[in-house]
């Protein structure tokens, strides 16, 4: 019935959407920002803890669809260990992945995010996937709030 939707809702997305591993506020964090999609009401707040100049851990609190929760969770997973500059680069490539279905590079991080590429066929859902990244960048840049608009 939904064979054509398996591109959008791959098993990894359903799994992380249902049981996010990083879906909690960190006990200690040094950066945080909220993201808001006013069109659909999705909200996310990300928390970042740096360890020795690199990201030690990312956690988030969110309300939203399976796509946005899974995207936030996979983002938190791949962000750990990255420098802020690497996050900026990765975020840019992920946005490209969500919008066009393809992204430069074959590093482990972008490969881990590739199951979300299916959103590019659903224009109204692209922002669901990119919202957590807007929030993460806002946190790293010291802005309190991000919007997917």
């Amino acid at each position: 019935m939904f064979d054509d939707l398996r591109d959008l809702y791959q098993e990894v997305i359903l799994d992380h959407g249902r049981r996010p591993r990083h879906g909690a506020r960190l006990a200690a964090f040094d950066a945080s920002a909220k993201g808001d999609n006013p069109m659909c009401g999705d909200r996310v707040q990300v928390f970042v803890r740096h360890d020795g100049g690199r990201i030690g851990e990312v956690g988030f609190e969110a309300r939203g669809c399976a796509i946005s929760i899974a995207s936030a969770d996979l983002m938190a997973e791949v962000a750990a260990g990255c420098s802020d500059a690497e996050i900026h680069d990765l975020a840019q490539r992920f946005r490209e992945l969500a919008r066009s279905g393809a992204a430069a590079g074959d590093d482990a991080a972008i490969e881990r995010l590739r199951p979300l590429a299916g959103v590019h066929e659903f224009p109204s859902r692209v922002k669901c996937a990119t919202l957590p990244w807007h929030a993460l960048l806002a946190a790293l840049d010291g802005k309190g709030e991000a919007s997917s608009e």
Binding site: F2, L5, G41
Partner: protein
């Protein structure tokens, strides 16, 4: 709950044949359009009237001394008569054309709110307002020192009348502005009782009729309303045209909303004087073609008849509530006694957006999100809902298709 025993007052196949879009295929399936509360589809009568106006009798209104302008003015003003008849307004000059309900309410918030209400007075809205009947009053509150009070809804999704009365008790309320039918819960509000209560406490009353007028006959005199707003595009008409009805003495007392052409009596460098109502509130070239389309839409609705529409939609709503409530994991919001063809629901383990995407894959269009009613969502303790809404062309088979598709969606997210 056997709905098939109701008399068939409405020839559904004949009505569906009037809506060309219903023949469209979406994703390889015949469109099941359950999003009429966001915007309704258009019958041939509306499409044809707009095309015909542009092809045969188009010019600007109210200013040409030539044949084309006179014919166009007649058609445009003919819609004013049609609206007056639709609402049973006592005076056609009480019909103001706006872009939509939002603009109609903003007009009242601006012109009545700043021109007539005084700082220290209060406006009462309800917890189940669309943002269009909420944000204009917040803006008035912040700009003009008006207190904004919010009447709660009960857990059943009905307006809490006792709480409303308590909010009116100190006599400070100048205006009660409340929806006539919730766009989320489908609940009707008891408009006659609200008007009587407001008047007893010295307040005027505005109804946001965006949803209600689609589903049942509205008689502003029987309701004893002071203001009534609705939009054309939900009533099978085009976008870009809405209506504010208000008692003439209120319109006379209100300053203009926007300045420009068509709303003046005379203009000099020193001062301008205003045209008579309703033109005082219709600055600039109006939505001429859209107004003509609205006239055709009203004609279409009246030719079907509100009694038949109401019976048809009551049967659909009853059927939808029965079918959806029978699905384990589906939760219908609200259980108002008096409700119309709008049903919001949630599905366990699945977010409304995911539900909507999966339904869309089966050719079923529903709305998902906060429905421009975020405070109500918080009141109901949900982030978002999926919403199926019905129109004159909706069939029981379409509701069955929704119910069956929801079973598959539930399985997908199990």
């Amino acid at each position: 709950m056997n709905v098939t025993t109701r008399p068939a007052l409405l020839d559904i196949e004949a009505i569906r044949a009037e809506f060309p879009i219903l023949q469209q295929q979406v994703r390889g399936r015949t469109l099941v359009f359950l999003d009429s509360a966001a915007s309704a589809q258009k019958p041939r009568a509306v499409i044809g009237a707009m095309v015909q106006a542009m092809e045969t009798q188009y010019a600007n209104v109210h200013r040409g001394l030539h044949w084309m302008s006179e014919r166009t003015t007649e058609a445009y003003e003919g819609t004013r008569d049609a609206v007056a008849r639709l609402l049973n307004a006592p005076d056609r000059h009480e019909i103001v054309f706006t872009r939509n309900s939002t603009e109609a309410i903003n007009l009242v918030a601006h012109s009545y709110g700043r021109g007539v209400l005084r700082p220290g007075q209060a406006v009462v809205i309800s917890e189940m307002e669309h943002h269009s009947n909420l944000v204009p009053w917040q803006m008035l509150r912040d700009a003009h020192g008006i207190e904004l009070r919010v009447a709660p809804v009960t857990d059943a999704g009905e307006l809490d009348m006792a709480a409303l009365e308590a909010l009116l008790a100190d006599g400070k309320v100048g205006l009660v502005a409340i929806t006539h039918m919730s766009n989320v819960l489908g609940s009707y509000t008891p408009a006659e009782r609200i008007a009587a209560l407001a008047h007893a406490h010295g307040a005027r009353v505005l109804f946001d009729g965006s949803q209600a007028i689609v589903h049942r006959r509205v008689d502003v005199q029987a309701l004893d309303a002071d203001f009534y707003a609705f939009t054309g595009h939900k009533l099978y008409g085009p976008t870009g045209i809405g209506v504010l009805w208000a008692r003439r003495e209120l319109l006379e007392a209100m300053p203009p909303f926007m300045g420009g052409g068509d709303m003046i009596s005379s203009v000099t460098w020193e001062r301008s004087t205003w045209a008579e109502v309703p033109h005082k509130f219709e600055a600039g070239t109006p939505a001429i073609i859209e107004a003509i389309g609205l006239g055709a839409a009203i004609g279409f609705v009246e030719s079907v008849g509100y009694e038949a529409i109401a019976a048809h939609e009551a049967a659909l709503t009853e059927h939808a509530l029965a079918r959806l409530s029978a699905i384990a994991g589906v939760h219908v919001l609200g259980r108002a006694q008096d409700r119309g063809g709008v049903v919001s629901f949630t599905l366990d383990r699945a977010h409304a957006h995911d539900v909507a995407t999966l339904l869309d894959r089966q050719g079923i269009a529903v709305r998902a999100g906060h429905h421009c009613a975020e405070p109500l969502m918080r009141r109901l303790g949900v982030d978002s809902t999926a919403r199926a809404s019905f129109g004159i062309y909706t069939t029981q088979a379409e509701i069955d298709a929704l119910a069956e598709s929801l079973l598959r969606v539930r399985e997908f997210f199990a």
